[in-house]
């Protein structure tokens, strides 16, 4: 591994983790698409900032972009509050308009500046290490690494300081308001954080893949845990894994690194989606199958209990009769009886079924639950 390769992986990891942390709250607050909107409109902030200070490297551009992120959020809310359009439509109206404005401003007035919409949308992580930070004549590393570490620290600090407030405002906004924490302030604080992260990140990974970095790790973590701290930790881990494996896949295919990171994050989500304990597809299918048999066994015991000790018992409690009475296919009925026998719920006496004590208890409990 060359130094450049290590640097790229470092930058990729830092960017990914920095994006994943605020992303957790976006996912939990059902505002995931706001990241899409903000990551596009920050471009307008940068363009306007550039027209004011006329220096493409000025840190003021980042401030301008962050402000534009907040303006985007409030425009969406304003439009939503007129109740003339739904919230999703409001997002879909605001950000393409602002983004179009930015693209036109760039191509019309800033054609000769290093600001092309190509790089903005796609980003090129591979070039990030070539932009070096030089302090007092000595090269201390790529600029992107420092800016993104700064953003990561900012996100960490914000989340650590306002952890309680964020948690409360996310899960119970009404209680947060009643206790005197302003959910509005926390909301805008979070949106400001998302904007700053998006500005920092889109330079390296492009605005559309910022969305992948912000949403994919938290969504994967969301399927694995119910604890906020665990979700934050898992998201960071997934982000880092996605970044490093993404880099190597891109290296192997000679393709866009950011895209490949998104692809790997998608792969991680796919694995979690299928195999997560409790919430994954496989676990879900297993649970459904188990519940089907459990339900059938309960139905069998109730049926037997109903007829127990009555004159009809001899007729009703034959195995062959089940398919008629419970409308079960004979093979299915046989399977249910077999399972019930194995669990000690029923006993078979030359063709007739009799409940055991356990079976009788199950039937009564199920009936109690049903009433």
């Amino acid at each position: 591994m060359s130094l450049t390769q290590i640097e790229i992986q470092l930058i990729a990891t830092v960017v990914a983790v920095a994006c994943a942390l605020p992303g957790v709250f976006l996912v939990l607050r059902s505002m995931a698409m706001m990241s899409d909107a903000i990551s596009h409109t920050v471009l307008l902030g940068i363009v306007i900032g550039f027209f004011i200070v006329e220096d493409i490297n000025s840190p003021l551009l980042i401030a301008g972009a962050a402000v534009m992120g907040l303006i985007t959020v409030s425009l969406v809310e304003l439009l939503n509050r007129t109740r003339l359009v739904q919230e999703d439509a409001a997002i879909g109206l605001v950000f393409p308009a602002l983004f179009s404005l930015a693209v036109i401003l760039i191509s019309r007035f800033a054609g000769d500046v290093h600001l092309d919409s190509d790089a903005v949308l796609l980003g090129e992580l591979a070039f990030a290490p070539f932009d070096r930070l030089v302090i007092a004549g000595s090269d201390v590393g790529p600029v992107a690494l420092y800016t993104m570490t700064g953003v990561l620290l900012l996100n960490l600090t914000f989340i650590l300081i306002f952890y309680k407030e964020l948690k409360l405002a996310t899960f119970d906004a009404a209680l947060a308001a009643a206790l005197g924490f302003s959910p509005g302030l926390i909301h805008y604080g979070l949106m400001g954080l998302v904007s700053i992260t998006a500005v920092g990140a889109f330079d390296t990974v492009g605005s559309i893949l910022v969305v992948a970095l912000m949403i994919a790790p938290p969504v994967s973590a969301y399927l694995l845990t119910d604890r906020l701290t665990t979700m934050l930790g898992l998201s960071a881990v997934f982000a880092a894994i996605g970044a490093i494996t993404g880099y190597w896949v891109a290296h192997w295919l000679d393709a866009n690194i950011a895209g490949s990171m998104a692809m790997m994050l998608g792969l991680i989500f796919g694995v979690v989606f299928l195999f997560a304990p409790e919430r994954g597809m496989v676990a879900l299918a297993q649970r459904r199958a188990r519940q089907k048999w459990e339900f059938a066994q309960a139905a069998l015991t109730i049926h037997l209990l109903n007829h127990e000790g009555t004159p009809a018992a001899a007729q009703e409690n034959r195995v062959e009769h089940l398919s008629h009475h419970l409308r079960w296919q004979p093979p299915f009925a046989a399977e249910v009886v077999q399972r019930a026998q194995r669990h000690g719920l029923v006993e078979r006496h030359n063709g007739y079924l009799a409940l055991t004590d356990d079976g009788r208890q199950l039937a009564r409990e199920t009936l109690m639950l049903a009433t």
Binding site: V27, S30, M31, A32, M33, S35, D36, H40, L79, L84, V85, Q86, D88, A89, I91, G92, L93, P96, A97, F99, S100, L101, V103, I104, S107, R108, F109, G111, S117, L121, L122, I208, L209, V211, A212, M214, I215, A216, P218, V219, Y222, L223, V249, A250, L253, D254, A255, N256, A258, G259, S260, M261, A262, M263, L265, G266, F269, F273, R279, M281
Partner: protein
């Protein structure tokens, strides 16, 4: 004169005519089908589908090595459709919500597409220009055969919409009722989604992945302000979409640095803004006027009712009272003098002297009526 020459260009200039025609087709198709997406609160589905189409386009290119629009658009169609299925599955089977599922599928499909795209560009004979245009849209580079492909696909979507109009309408407004009537609503849902994917795919080449979502949402959102009828809304949205397409194409042809896609989006955004402010009944301006009128009516009625209360407490019902008394009864709310002037103009009150006012017989009857209404 300027306008005349523009119109002449529109008719006779090959490039401009093609671009405007393409933009119009795109506007009509995405406007009318976008109406359903907006009504079903799936506005951002368009955004997700357009991004998700990218890998489909590239894979179609890798498989066929063809740059013929229809083939690439079919690839986009399949990918967009798969993405929607995946989103539906995620929302249905896990606790992940709609917005996260959209963001997730959108960005991951796009990332995958980007990997494929950068990979393909390293294949020597791949001309990247054709593929890149799907990212940002190159309406100016549209050829007649591209417009033809757009028209073919778009008409297919519109014909589907016409055939299943009733079903789509049921799905948008009351899917449960539709299911109770025996319509296979899930199938209808899939069908409507398919037509929306077609609409998006039609526009991709002209305005690009990023701005396509605006063409789905904006014309429909604008049309929604003017009407409560679905059929009129769809027609209006198609009209707005086409108008934005043609005007956008004309504006962008008149100046340098005005890329067609963003210009069209800005025009359609302007149409939305105008609609939100000016549309009758729903528009902001209209609502402001109604609210002002109501407020004034309430103020006038309240002052009249106060005068009536005073009148019933006196032997002579036409006895004049000082404006100060009324102002006190209004609990300090302003505008009493102005309101009295308005009432005098209508002949409901009469000015006795400098500061004292009395009801007229007409005013007494009107006040009686209002008080009776209030007590009801």
């Amino acid at each position: 004169m300027e306008l005349w020459s523009l119109l002449q260009d529109l008719l006779f200039d090959y490039t401009l005519r093609t671009v405007a025609l393409g933009a119009a087709v795109l506007g009509i198709v995405s406007g009318s089908l976008g109406s359903f997406a907006v009504l079903r609160r799936q506005s951002l589905l368009g955004d997700a589908m357009s991004h998700a189409a990218l890998p489909g386009i590239v894979i179609a290119f890798i498989l066929t090595r063809s740059k013929f629009s229809l083939v690439l658009l079919l690839g986009a169609l399949v990918a967009g459709w798969l993405a929607t299925l995946l989103m539906t599955a995620i929302v249905r089977y896990t606790r992940v919500k709609q917005d996260s599922a959209l963001g997730l599928v959108l960005s991951i499909f796009f990332g995958f597409g980007l990997v494929l795209l950068t990979y393909v560009q390293r294949i020597p004979d791949a001309n990247q220009a054709g593929l890149n245009s799907y990212l940002f849209g190159q309406a100016a580079a549209l050829l007649q055969r591209d417009v033809l492909a757009m028209a073919v696909l778009g008409s297919a979507a519109l014909v589907l919409m016409g055939l299943f109009w009733k079903e789509f309408k049921l799905l948008s407004f009351d899917p449960v009722f539709g299911a109770s009537l025996g319509f296979p609503m899930r199938l209808v849902d899939t069908l409507l989604t398919t037509t929306l994917v077609i609409a998006i795919v039609v526009g991709l080449q002209a305005v690009g992945v990023v701005l396509m979502s605006a063409m789905v949402v904006a014309p429909a959102a604008a049309a929604r302000q003017w009407t409560d009828r679905l059929s009129i809304m769809v027609l209006l949205a198609a009209l707005f979409g086409a108008l934005a397409g043609v005007i956008g194409a004309l504006i962008s042809s008149s100046g340098s640095g005005l890329a067609t896609g963003p210009t069209i989006v800005l025009v359609v955004s302007a149409i939305v803004t105008i609609s939100i402010f000016l549309a009758p009944n729903r528009g902001l301006l209209w609502r402001w006027i109604v609210r002002r009128r109501n407020r004034r009516r309430l103020r006038v009625e309240a002052v009249l009712a106060d005068l009536y209360t005073l009148a019933t407490q006196h032997e002579n019902r036409y006895h004049a009272h000082d404006a100060v008394v009324i102002r006190t009864m209004r609990a300090g709310q302003g505008g009493v003098a102005h309101t009295l002037d308005i009432l005098q103009e209508r002949g409901l009150v009469r000015k006795e002297d400098e500061s004292r006012w009395a009801l007229t017989p007409d005013g007494f009857r009107e006040a009686q009526r209002i008080t009776a209404d209030m007590q009801e």
